[in-house]
């Protein structure tokens, strides 16, 4: 595996950082970094799930709706007076349920994932709108906020949680048989069948895990506020997918790393606030996201066209590496 994409994205982040450090040092104030982190941690958790889904060659555009559903579910349980762990568990289970249903329809019924998750995206969100009548969940118990921690310690705890999540996801993907199965399924489903793997099971499991992560993301995000909106997570799926693509995961599956996704989240998450700090209208943020995605994908396409794989080229690369 080569880490060329990860290096380019890291380089882009460094360049952005240097420019900001020179021009707008205030960007690196603890307060701003803290805000940035809190605003993007849910994106990161969901992007880890999206990486898995895209690695097996599928897509999940229901993440935002699942996220909203899980937030509300956790909020309802919390306001009913049940203890915090039950609320936390509810968010995760709700995510697994949505993910597993989507996954079963994709893996076992053979319906294209874009269709299944489009239906889930609309269906879950509208069901939620109907169930809550658009009302937000209020009067959350004090214990729910910051998940029992304090405003000061929460970001630290979450940073630790995310670190554990990313390290273990990276490790699972590269060091376990299950990780192999994910890559094999994504790069060539037929060949994966031929070596005795069960690609349908892999796809199903990946959707369920992505659902779980959407639930976890919903939980840690909801704990930041004293109200839970019934229409949260709008556009979250696109943020997650964009980060995965920028991070170098092939949209056709089979190739990509968690590290790339993390870097993708950092780059895309930092660019908007950076614009604000530089005095550029924040309206440019989305356009810039689009440009970054297009650049990343265009570089891939050009490289694929130029590179004619031969043993000699590989040898040259191996020698120079």
């Amino acid at each position: 595996m080569n880490y060329r994409r990860e290096l380019s994205v890291a380089l882009a982040i460094v360049v952005l950082g240097v420019v900001l450090a020179l021009a707008r040092p205030a960007f690196f104030s603890a307060e701003n970094l803290n805000d940035l982190f809190l605003a993007n941690m849910a994106v990161l958790v969901c992007a880890v799930g999206a990486t898995l889904v895209i690695l097996v060659g599928e897509i999940d555009i229901a993440v935002g709706s699942t996220f909203a559903f899980c937030s509300v579910a956790a909020g309802v349980v919390a306001t009913s007076g049940l203890p915090l762990p039950v609320a936390a568990l509810t968010a995760c289970v709700a995510g697994v349920v949505v993910g597993a249903v989507d996954g079963a329809l994709v893996a076992f019924a053979g319906i294209p994932s874009i269709v299944v998750t489009l239906a889930a995206m609309i269906g879950v969100r509208d069901a939620l709108r109907w169930a809550t009548q658009g009302a937000w969940i209020e009067n959350l118990p004090a214990s729910f906020q910051w998940l029992g921690l304090t405003q000061g310690s929460y970001p630290m705890a979450m940073a630790a949680l995310l670190l554990v999540l990313i390290v273990s996801a990276t490790w699972l993907m590269s060091e376990t048989a299950a990780g192999r199965a994910v890559y094999a399924t994504g790069s060539n489903r037929r060949a994966a069948t031929l070596v005795g793997l069960d690609p349908a099971l892999v796809v199903f499991a990946v959707f369920a895990i992505a659902g779980l992560l959407a639930g976890l993301g919903a939980l840690i995000n909801a704990a930041r506020f004293n109200q839970i909106p019934s229409n949260g997570g709008i556009g979250l799926e696109m943020k997650a997918i964009a980060a995965v693509v920028v991070g170098g995961t092939a949209i056709s599956g089979g190739r990509g790393t968690m590290l790339g996704t993390v870097l993708g989240v950092v780059l895309l998450g930092a660019i908007g606030p950076a614009l604000t700090f530089m005095g550029v209208s924040a309206y440019w943020e989305r356009a810039l996201h689009g440009a970054i995605i297009l650049t990343a994908v265009a570089i891939d396409a050009l490289r694929a066209r130029r590179a004619v794989p031969t043993v000699t080229a590989a040898r040259a690369a191996a020698v120079s590496a």
């Binding site: 595996m1 060091e175 376990t176 048989a177 299950a178 990780g179 192999r180 199965a181 890559y183 094999a184 790069s187 060539n188 037929r190 060949a191 994966a192 069948t193 031929l194 070596v195 005795g196 793997l197 069960d198 089979g254 190739r255 794989p309 031969t310 043993v311 080229a313 590989a314 040898r315 690369a317 191996a318 020698v319």
Partner: protein
């Protein structure tokens, strides 16, 4: 006057020479048959004539004019049309619309004259003596009816050269005679027809001349009159067995794989019985489409079967998935390496251990050091040319990719290996190495079932040869008693 003349055409794919010098001419009002074994170069030749492939060398002349660059558009403009075994129509459009797409296209924004389209389609179908509703959707038509639409398209495009590639493969006898009438009609109109078929009967019924292709070269063109069937078969195969195939002298042991009356309606297999013993190579010969690959996939659990029994080491076993087959010690190297064999995005080492993940990952955790050791062992044993075991397989040459795919099965210590066209598309050096590996595996007691379209390979490598036709085993011969003529005539319709 010749309609089309090909002279010394050559074409290589990734270093493998598919055409080494094909020369051929077509006169107006004749049916010219092209015959040859699988892989003789017939499809490549057709692809060049229709502009789907560009030749590396040689010239193509149509109606006296040399064509500098043939592409599908030029081919159409020159009146060349091809009809394949599988019709390529737009299933959601009507018969008339499908035919209209072949008619002269004016500007993109012209108005569509639906009435004129329908009348044109009707006129063309009439010329073919076909009674099809021009407004009917194509996907409601039967296979032969779709083929008639294809021919009508060719007529509509004012084709003077019609190439038919195995047009009868999916037709019933009655439909075949209808098709023959149409071919006679086209011939009477002065159209030149290039006719490709494995069915010698058809060639002797229809053809005016016959050209034999062998190993990418046009061997001879003969008038059909005076050509004998056995003579033609001899021309198709007649070649000395080369010495690259290692002859092995291994005493076969117990039966490791046995099939008893295996039938599957869905896969077109009927009553297949055969056995493979320890240290034996059973060659399975037959034409493309004779059910060989379907048989291999059934043994490996990729296709279900309706009746019959599979026995592994004399025990009847249910095989419902590749995982079952692997657990029983069966390995399967599929035909299409790029699509189904090695996983090109993964490293050499990861590919090799993929079918045997449990061995290198006790408790689900991959032991990277053990994996590298195992992979390095195979790289050395199979002489795989790769910069390292961490290199992506997609960067290796075809022969080396095939060896990686093979190594994956060696890693499970198989008792049965099913190899489907194990040396297709690999270069000569890698080919003889793969043959040597097969010989070595047999010597270690693996029972091998080898499907191959290459008769010399079948004859050189196998201890016994089973010939398939139409989903059945139509004959089994010992190697010493086998002749290429005999095998080919069993495989062909005769």
């Amino acid at each position: 006057m010749t309609l089309l003349e090909a002279r010394s055409l050559t074409k290589s794919f990734a270093g493998v020479r598919a055409l080494k010098g094909a020369s051929f001419d077509l006169r107006p009002g004749e049916v010219h048959a092209l015959v040859g074994e699988n892989g003789a170069g017939k499809s490549t030749l057709i692809k060049i004539m229709t502009g789907a492939e560009t030749p590396d060398g040689g010239t193509l002349t149509v109606a006296g004019e040399t064509v500098r660059r043939m592409d599908p558009h030029t081919a159409r403009a020159l009146g060349i049309a091809a009809i394949y075994q599988q019709p390529s129509l737009f299933p959601d459009l009507s018969v008339a619309e499908n035919i209209a797409l072949a008619l002269d296209g004016a500007s993109l924004w012209r108005r569509v004259d639906w009435g004129a389209r329908r009348r044109a389609a009707e006129a063309l179908l009439d010329r073919l003596g076909a009674h099809l509703d021009p407004n009917g959707a194509v996907d409601a038509l039967s296979m032969p009816e779709q083929q008639i639409v294809e021919i009508a398209k060719a007529l509509g495009a004012r084709a003077r050269i019609v190439i038919m590639d195995e047009p009868t493969a999916s037709l019933s006898d009655r439909e075949v005679s209808r098709l023959f009438e149409i071919v006679q009609r086209l011939r009477a109109d002065g159209t030149g027809i290039i006719y490709i078929s494995h069915r010698l009967d058809e060639i002797f019924t229809l053809a005016d001349r016959v050209t034999v292709l062998r190993d990418g070269e046009t061997l001879v063109t003969r008038e059909r009159e005076g050509l004998r069937r056995d003579e033609l078969i001899h021309l198709m195969v007649g070649r000395e067995l080369s010495a690259v195939y290692p002859k092995r002298a291994i005493e076969p042991g117990d039966v490791v794989l046995e099939l008893r009356g295996l039938s599957s309606r869905a896969s077109g297999l009927s009553d297949v019985s055969l056995s493979v013993r320890r240290g034996e190579i059973l060659g399975v010969a037959g034409l493309v489409g004779s059910g060989r690959t379907e048989l291999a996939e059934t043994i490996f659990g990729l296709r279900p079967y309706d009746s019959g029994t599979i026995l592994v080491r004399n025990r009847a076993v249910p095989i419902g998935s590749p995982a079952d087959a692997i657990a029983l010690g069966i390995g399967y190297l599929p035909e299409d390496r790029r699509q189904h064999g090695a996983i090109l995005e993964m490293s050499v080492a990861a590919n090799m251990t993929l079918a045997n993940l449990r061995a290198v990952s006790p408790r689900g955790l991959v032991d990277a050091a053990a994996e590298r050791r195992e992979a390095a062992r195979f790289v050395e044993r199979l002489r795989i040319k790769t910069p390292s075991v961490a290199t992506e397989v997609g960067l290796l040459s075809g022969g080396n990719q095939q060896k990686v795919a093979l190594a994956r099965w060696l890693a499970i210590e198989p008792s049965v290996l099913v190899l489907d066209e194990p040396t297709q598309g690999v270069d000569v050096g890698a080919k003889s190495e793969i043959h040597a590996i097969m010989g070595e595996l047999a010597a270690r007691g693996v029972g091998i079932l080898m499907i191959s379209s290459e008769l010399p390979e079948v004859l050189g490598m196998s201890d016994r040869i089973a010939v398939m036709r139409g989903g059945r085993i139509v004959g089994q011969v010992e190697r010493d008693a086998a002749s290429p003529q005999e095998i080919l005539s069993m495989a062909l319709h005769s």
